[in-house]
Amino acid sequence: MGKYVFQRIIYMIITLFIIVSLTFFLMKLIPGSPFSAAAKLTESQLAIMNAKYGLDQPVAVQYLKYLGNVLQGDLGVSFQFSNTPVMDLILGRIGPSATLGLQAMIFGTIIGIILGVVAALRQNTWLDYGSTLVAVLGKSVPSFVFAALLQYFIAVKLGWLPVAFWRGFEYSILPTIALAIFPISIAARFMRTEMIDVLSSDYITLARAKGASSFEVAFKHAMRNALIPVVTVLGPLTVSLMTGSLVVEQVFAIPGLGEQFVKSIELLDHPVIMGTTILFAVLFIVIVFVVDILYSIIDPRIRLSGGNN
């Protein structure tokens, strides 16, 4: 196990390095100036601005400098936001995104698993069809449509919840539901398929023969095995939910990371693009690692070991 973890950490560092390098050079390929007033500046004015931010140096030099700074924990300052440190920009926006993402994940997974289990236990009944319908809708209806419908009917027409902004729990309910629809459908579909599969295996028949109640069979014996594929997909999904959804944040006017990231790319705000990419990459890599560790806990048959064994 120890060797395995060590090896994984080395791989994680290499992966991160590749992501950072690729993003840096791809970003530098995008033409254009990061200064919003560029259209109004003369060549010599632009040259002085470029020199101030080190943009006049060869890309390779900029890259090495950037790597050096990142290794010292310095993500640089934003071009667009009057020299605000990138770290501050990210920290200032990650709160709402992470809160929404976690809420949506917890809510979505629980609902999704329940739907999936129910559908599997009551196969080919209206419960099954209903649950499948929810799963298909959740997967196929684009989130901006769903978010806009929720906002229009629940907030504008019925007035039950606030339309937009970020001022407390009640403001997070609609966006959480809008975000949760995707994990619900994923969890429900995987859970149903796996449960049906597991329920027909020999050890379940044995458990039944031993006189275990159907509740015990479903939740103690079957569910644990059926969860493995669900955990695999939900891990990375958690990261993508927590790092902010552009659409849901825009519809509900939530000051989150998703919107800021997209904007930084449009405006060529290099340090913000890089900083956010690094954050997302780290989260992603760590979560994938955690999921692998979780496997061994859920399913003792999976033993983690170094690649050579």
Binding site: S36, A38, L41, I48, S82, T84, D88, G92, F165, A253
Partner: protein
């Protein structure tokens, strides 16, 4: 009872009359019913506004975007301020400045008793310090050099050649006297003083805060009608103004509190407005406008922003005057604004916008004397096209058309492509839809044939448009060069620098050369802005240049 209703009728009549008098630039038309109540109302003087972005920057010399400029305009103040009638009026300046005979030295007196929010008096040195800082390359200001170079004496040397900042033509004669020396007469110089880049900064405070300066509500000094009460920095999506009780004109400021929220999606803004969660929306996107047509709460105004097609004259075909004329007259702009935009934007048959600047003597709009040029005329376009092709010795042409990559841009570009190809036989337009930054890059490199571009001015003077087309001008980027045009602009800037009427007329003449004689660009449309303002908001005030809104005139009625 009878007496009461008579009073009511009188009030109503009066309010209708008042609205008739002062309607126009403020939003009073929509709020006729509340007019008489105005500021004396018992309603809480609180306002909720939606903005298109968080505040990127609060250091006045670093700002280059509308939301920053707007915030600064409301929590800070310069020598001049924009009022509800789009005039720039003295603010920190105590009356109009003394100007020397040739219009190159301005002596401003600074209002006694005006203070920063920490109690310090505002002095002439605060201006000198801020302007020198704006020209220090290490500060990273872009608007500093953009607005000061070529205007204030020594600005170029300080920014480009590292000259000592004290050589800048802005001197504090004493605490209350600021003397500014200009490179050449600038007739709109006082109106520039309302632009946040020229606002004062308190040297002791800025230096004490160092890198933290203007990064949150606590690290800024205020001297405007409001102060930022709650703002955690550039990433904050919600921020709050409170009334500045130390402001010299605080008695005339009604609002106590304004809450701002960042809202990117116009539909969301409308939903929040409809649910009474906010009072003022962001600018409505085009598809939302028709449903509020005729709604008294929709405030609309013609922005001085004009869109046109630039024709790159490094392309041999576009050096031909007849080809340019043909292209310029072959597009049905009315149909474009009516059917594609449908938001009140109007066809532009000009380069200097309508309802933007007026003749200094007669008060006549710039457009009155010059009228329409290069209007849609298919027959004339076809004729010029045939002639042009003949002169070039070809029977067909292919031109690249550089446009934006948003859905709205693509739709209108396709319309224009269709118009040009239908009306001009043998013309093929190759659409290239690219992001904004790419378009700018290719504009600079002259890597296009036709390009859809627009311009919004930074100061209230026709020169902000005329300047664009000077030979080798910083924004020309289409190889247009006309000796006659250059000469007229030079005359306006030097010979008639101190004769506002003659200067204005010279710039009008220049526009005629640009369009009628040269057909240098294809004017397309002038944009209209539409926003929703709750009916209880009195005196909603927008501006044409720099900052977008002023909140100090606003009061909340019942």
């Amino acid at each position: 009872m009878k007496k009461y209703s008579l009073l009511l009728v009188l009030t109503l009549v009066l309010s209708v009359f008042l609205a008739g008098c002062f309607g126009g630039d403020t939003a009073e038309e929509g709020n006729t019913g509340n007019e008489s109540e105005g500021g004396s109302s018992d309603a809480p003087q609180e306002l909720r506004v939606m903005e298109t972005s968080a505040i990127p920057v609060m250091d006045t010399i670093l700002a280059s975007d509308t939301v920053s400029f707007t915030t600064m305009n409301n929590v800070n103040e310069g020598l001049y301020r924009l009022n509800a009638d789009q005039e720039t009026v003295p603010a920190l300046a105590d009356g109009e400045p003394e100007v020397n005979e040739d219009g190159t030295v301005y002596t401003f007196k600074i209002k006694e008793g005006a203070v920063w929010s920490n109690g310090d008096a505002i002095t002439a040195n605060d201006f000198v310090y801020a302007w020198q800082r704006a020209l220090d390359p290490d500060s990273g200001s872009s608007y500093g050099p953009y607005l000061m170079e070529g205007k204030i004496k020594g600005a170029s040397e300080v920014f480009n050649d590292g000259a000592d900042p004290s050589t800048l033509g802005a001197v504090a004669v004493d605490d209350q006297t600021l003397e500014v020396t200009l490179e050449k007469p600038v007739s709109y110089f006082t109106s520039l003083m309302a632009f946040p880049t020229f606002f004062p900064q308190n040297q002791a405070f800025v230096e004490e805060q160092g890198d933290n300066y203007a990064t949150s509500a606590d690290t800024i000094l205020y001297n405007g009608p409001f102060v930022l009460e709650n703002w955690d920095g550039s990433s904050d999506g919600e921020w709050v103004y409170a009334k500045n009780t130390e402001y010299w004109d605080a008695d005339n400021v009604a609002l106590e509190k304004i809450t701002f929220n960042e809202v990117k999606d116009a539909q969301t803004a409308v939903n929040a407005y409809e649910s009474q969660e906010a009072d003022i929306t962001t600018k409505l996107s085009s598809e939302l406008v028709p449903q509020y047509e005729g709604d008294a709460n929709m405030v609309s105004w013609l922005e001085p922003t004009v869109f046109w097609i630039k024709m790159n004259q490094t392309n041999e075909a576009l050096q031909n005057l007849n080809i340019r004329k043909a292209l310029a007259m072959a597009i049905d702009k009315q149909s474009l604004t009516d059917n594609i935009f449908n938001n009140g934007s109007i066809p532009a048959n000009y380069a200097v916008p309508k309802e933007f600047v007026q003749h200094p003597d007669t008060g006549e709009d710039f457009r009155e004397a010059n009228g329409d040029m290069l209007t849609y005329d298919v027959d004339a376009a076809k004729e010029a096209w045939a002639k042009g092709l003949e002169e070039l010795g070809v029977d067909s042409l292919e031109l690249r058309y550089l446009g934006g990559d948003t859905e709205a841009a693509k739709t209108s570009d396709e319309f224009i492509q269709n118009q040009l190809e239908t009306n001009l036989e043998g013309l093929t337009i190759k659409l290239e839809s690219v992001p904004f930054s790419v378009r700018l890059e290719r504009d600079k490199a002259l890597d296009y044939d036709l390009q859809m571009a627009g311009w919004g001015p930074d100061y209230l003077d026709p020169i902000s448009f005329s300047d664009l087309w000077i030979t080798d001008g910083g924004n020309n980027h289409m190889a247009f060069s006309s000796e006659k045009y250059d000469k007229l602009l030079k005359d306006a800037e030097s010979t008639y620098a101190n004769d506002p009427a003659k200067r204005f007329e010279t710039l009008q003449e220049a526009e005629k050369v640009l369009l009628e004689e040269e057909a240098a660009i294809v004017p397309i449309y002038q944009r209209q802005a539409n926003i929703l303002v709750n009916e209880k908001v009195n005196k909603f005030t927008y501006h044409f240049v720099g900052p977008e809104y002023s909140f100090y005139p606003i009061s909340i009625g019942e």
